[in-house]
Amino acid sequence: MKKIITLFALSLLSLKSIYAQTKISGKVTDQKKITIPGANIFVKDSYDGASTSPDGSFSFVANDTGEVTLVTSFIGYETIEKKIKLNGKEVTYNPVLKEAFNELKVVTISAGTIEASDEKRTTVLKPLDIVTTAGGLGDINGALKTLPGAQQVGESAELFVRGGTGAETKTIIDGMVVNNPFYSANPDIASRGRFSPFIFKGTVFSTGGYSAQYGQAMSSVLALETNDLPDRTSSTVALSTVGVGVGHNHLWKEKQMSAGFDLNYTNLTPYFSLVKQAPDYTLSPQFSGGSLNFRKKTSPSGIIKFYGYFNLSNFGFKTQSIDSTNGYKNLFELGNTNIYTNLTYKERLGEKWLLNIGASYSTNLDKINLSFDTIRSQSDLSQGRIVISRGIGKLSIIRFGGEYQYSFDGFNIKGVGHNYFSNSNYFFKSNTNVYDNYSAEFIEADIFLSRSLVLRLGGRGEYSTLMNKYVVAPRSSVSYKLGESSTLSIAYGQFYQKPERTFLLSPQIPGYNKATHYIANIQRVDDYHTLRLEVYYKQYDNLTLYEADSTRSNLGHGYAQGLDLFWRDKKTLKGVDYWVSYTYLDTKRLYLYYPKEVTPPFAATHTATLVFKKFFEKLNLSTGFTYSYASGRPYNDPNNTEFMANRTIDYNTLGLNCAYLRQIKKCFAVLAFAVTNVIGNDQVFGYRYSYDLQRSQAITPPAKRFFFVGLFLSFGQDRSKEVINNNN
């Protein structure tokens, strides 16, 4: 009997469960009412649920009764939960999903900034692009000159940005200023950067409107970030037509620490004996140097990094003196010693705080022998920096910090001088030492009013004992995301800079120079294309000016305005990646010895570059070319009554490179070939005039072309595991 009762009870129970099945249906949409197919909707802790159909609808039967939690989730959206009561009565539920945090969906500040990074998913360039750009010869600045805003100033390695001089661009490594980023050279021959592009994981090239974190740069900031720990232990050997190099990087087993070094020696004697150079070299350029690096993870989020390099270089040559009628040649000999060190520490403090501390010391000594003068020029820089950031909410962040720089500049000259105004020579001997204590503090907040709208407000206070003045530079920018991939940005900022080093050594030191930037930018970036258009106006005030009595003031002024255009396409042509830059620049300034506001010699009205890269997979060959054009630049012919009214011929150059890649056992080999100015276009950077104004001499490159052949071997990097996995 009892058995029957039990059975009955059990069947009743099962009947009840049949009775309690509840149908749940509805539609899943996002906040813009767009339906979401493939979303997952289910009763928590049960099997019951469904995926939404292509029209976003779903329907399923839940077996539970009573209060349950309904979960709705989809990739890229925030999961939502809702408590509902199930009692067999059909339930209609239309969940609305909110997009989850995704760096790609959040607006970034883009006015004035071109970034190369592997870590951020959408950037204009990748670090590898810097190495593989033809015409750049593996030099960071060589590659950056293909970007809009930069001028083609062939006689200098410096970056001349938007009507600014080379000195208005500052190079920064891990937050620390690099005083002499290029090999010392004579004024008319371009040199190279002192560091290898391979040691950086991120590059931010700012052509204006940059963050309050940076100061003492009126035109541009090139901020480089060194690599963290390497992927593995490796050794490298480099052999080329100009020199040799070796390096080793060791990664300890637990991947918590690494240390490395490299040594290189470059001697252009063999190359110059093959390829004739215009100057008569008394000593072919020789460079020897090396670098050291050390990285240690102090915690999952903390890392200490050291990076340092030293360089010794020598060269000397004679060129035809323009003032001599009997073939006298001017001598220029230079010996340089340079050391740069940089120590940084980064750590997260709790959930919200991030600490960055850094210290750096560098010294540069140039010994120059001219026909009549000998110069000994030294500059030392010690600096410390601290930046603290704190996240506010999900997106907003506030940053503040300070820096201190102690600099020494010594200039010792014995020889003959020339006065521009009286046009006469005089003998002199002088020894000038200048010290400066520079301190700055800044505060800046990135305030996200929504995912699509960010406001950056900040300011920077700077004091230099040499300038003996405290200045405050406000900075601000606004970026608005127009759609999936388009951003509109505007920026405004004031930028102060000490006068160039030469003027700091003069008896009357002119005050700060100042620039004010106004920038508007529209940018569209997807996985394969980048389109950028930027317009700007830059006001120059307090530029250094030679007064009639040959004292110096900062009463100069000027402006620069123009348009920068950039287009990159990795998709349209198969296996081809190309980019086009165009720069329109209208700039005038009253500065130095200029009698009136004119376009300076380092500014071309039109500049355009085409960079083209193609990879031939079957041939293991990577090739590329870069074509650069710049309209003629101004120069002053003293015979012309109008100052700075002449223009050089247009500048054209085609650079070519190719690299053959091959894996031989555990050795990865790259055989590289590069040549600049393939076509052999004539290039004139300006003219020099004799004192009597009777003769002129064109300033040209030391040789029409530069050829480079190099073999790079890398051991231990088992790049066989370098998978290009495209399983579709």
Partner: protein, 213 residues
Amino acid sequence: MKKIITLIALTSLFNIADAQNKKYIETMEKNIAILDTTRDANVLQNQANTFERIGNAEKKEWLPLYYAAYCYVNMTYSTKGNTIDTYCDKAETFIKKADSISPNNSEIFTIKAQIASARISVNPMTRGQKYGTEAGEIREQAKKLDPTNPRPYYLEGTAFFYTPPMFGGGKDKAKPSFEKAKSLYEAFKPASSIAPHWGAKSNEYFLQKCDEK
């Protein structure tokens, strides 16, 4: 009488537990069968959802999470660019959970290696070195944890297969891995009807491709 009641009560309890387990196995079997026949991203998305639901209900089981991750990593092959990372991130959250339920599991390490490899295709030129090395290291761990598991060898084969010869890849380099995988597949007996068993067919396909001129 009481005995009988207790017995009935006990058996019904067992029945419930057994039914629950049966329901788990059957649901898994049905859904894994779908995976064996498709690579369609929409189907994979639905399957990923289903495995996520099963995983939510069966908190002690690693396999539903494993299969959810498997679905997401396979979805990367039919998309491009940054979406690959999004899928990989999702796959990674599932495989991490699976790993915490069943640590040192060769099959879980296999999926981890597959995720690292998938990330390379976002940008092979810049990511090859980092994720290629990572994938290789995880594959080695997977081999060590279970030397009879053919899947790490199969993945190694595909990695070599899609790596250009100049970076030390190519068909010739890939073939020994596929051959090793083949011999392991032939000897391999899945631990249960729902244990991982994928890859044998694709391995055959790649072996043939290796012999093509």
